[in-house]
């Protein structure tokens, strides 16, 4: 058998390997191949969560995002069409969980019109904020508290801050400084979002968090319309980052349009500092 043919034959087993369905002798054969084939090893490394995530969450990994009005009703304790499906979706979608928690928090704040009718269209948070007359930062804190207190959330250990990044250049006084606590594995940062003019709503915009040496730490790609929806009330977009990829140092958050790096819309900086508790 030629090396190319052998490669293809072993490569064909990768889906079954990721799905955990490969026979033991085939697993050994594939693992031996992975030590010599960088391309296949890279594929398996990046897909190692796929089979497990689909196995645990099933169709929730594939179903479309629910109607925002349904999320709002659920957050307010109102009857919903399919509560079980909503809960399944919320278990795997951080954006919808934040949105739901925002509804819950906003409707429980002093001055909120708890019994106001739930709007039939997105963005629900915009209505809630106007009703409660909250400043954006206050809402974001509320969002996080609501998120952490939400009964349907997965266990999330330890307190997590939600820094709202200020517009800043490297080294400026306005730069946001963040302490990552020992053992903290996730960091949610909120980035201010000013919708760019003269762009189609379907254009895919991209947020990237880059280290000072240019390495990409995090990427979020969403259509402009969806970013507008998330930022509609508070003016910020939440980014969920694996904080273990953020050693102390300077980081850039770059928003680009469909034109790539030459089409930069906004840049801001933040710094990660060693935890004052010694972590």
């Amino acid at each position: 058998m030629t090396p190319d043919r052998f490669h293809e034959e072993v490569r064909d087993g990768i889906p079954a390997f990721v799905a955990g369905q490969l026979a033991e002798d085939e697993v050994r054969r594939l693992e031996a191949h992975l030590t010599a084939c960088e391309d296949c090893a890279d594929l398996v490394f990046n897909l190692r969560w796929l089979g497990d995530a689909i196995g645990r969450h099933g169709d929730a990994m594939f179903e479309p995002h629910p109607d925002p009005a349904e999320l709002a009703r659920m957050a307010r304790g109102k009857p919903v069409l399919d509560r079980e499906r909503l809960e399944r979706h919320l278990a795997v979608c951080a954006a919808c969980r934040l949105e739901t928690a925002g509804w819950s928090t906003a409707s429980s704040l002093p001055g909120a019109q708890r019994e106001a009718p739930v709007p039939k269209t997105a963005p629900p948070l915009a209505r809630a904020v106007k009703t409660a007359a909250l400043p954006a930062a206050g809402l974001i804190v509320g969002l996080l508290l609501g998120y952490l207190a939400a009964p349907w959330r997965s266990p999330w250990n330890g307190p997590i801050d939600l820094p709202v990044l200020q517009r800043a250049t490297r080294g400026s006084a306005a730069i946001t400084r963040i302490h990552v606590k020992p053992g903290q594995e996730a960091l949610v940062v909120a980035v201010r979002f000013d919708p760019p003019d003269a762009r189609p709503e379907t254009e895919i915009l991209q947020y990237q968090v880059l280290s000072s040496d240019g390495a990409v730490i995090y990427t979020l790609r969403e259509p402009l319309e969806r970013l507008r929806r998330h930022a509609g009330s508070s003016g910020v977009v939440p980014l969920l980052i694996d904080s273990r990829q953020l050693p102390p140092g300077s980081y850039r958050v770059v928003l680009t349009g469909a034109g790539g790096p030459q089409d930069t819309i906004a840049v801001t900086w933040f710094e990660v500092e060693p935890s004052p508790t010694g972590g």
Partner: protein, 89 residues
Amino acid sequence: MGEPVDEDSGATAEQRLISDQLVRRALDEATPDCRALIRAYFLEGLPYAELASRLDVPVGTVKSRLFRCLQCLRDSMAPATHRAGKLTP
């Protein structure tokens, strides 16, 4: 405070939460055809022969399509996972 660890995978709840978000987002970005193929293979557990019959294409075509779909998922997830060796369950 100790973290609860999944006895099967060794992953903490936070690790699972982050990996689930990454997978969900990558599937969101996949084409409808890829999502359907990945769903049929990974969720329904259909073998290649049955997928080929359903799509009315040769088995080899199913294999190559599925492989290309997985490569696309890899490309979506790679920026976040490449530097996340510690996330390995």
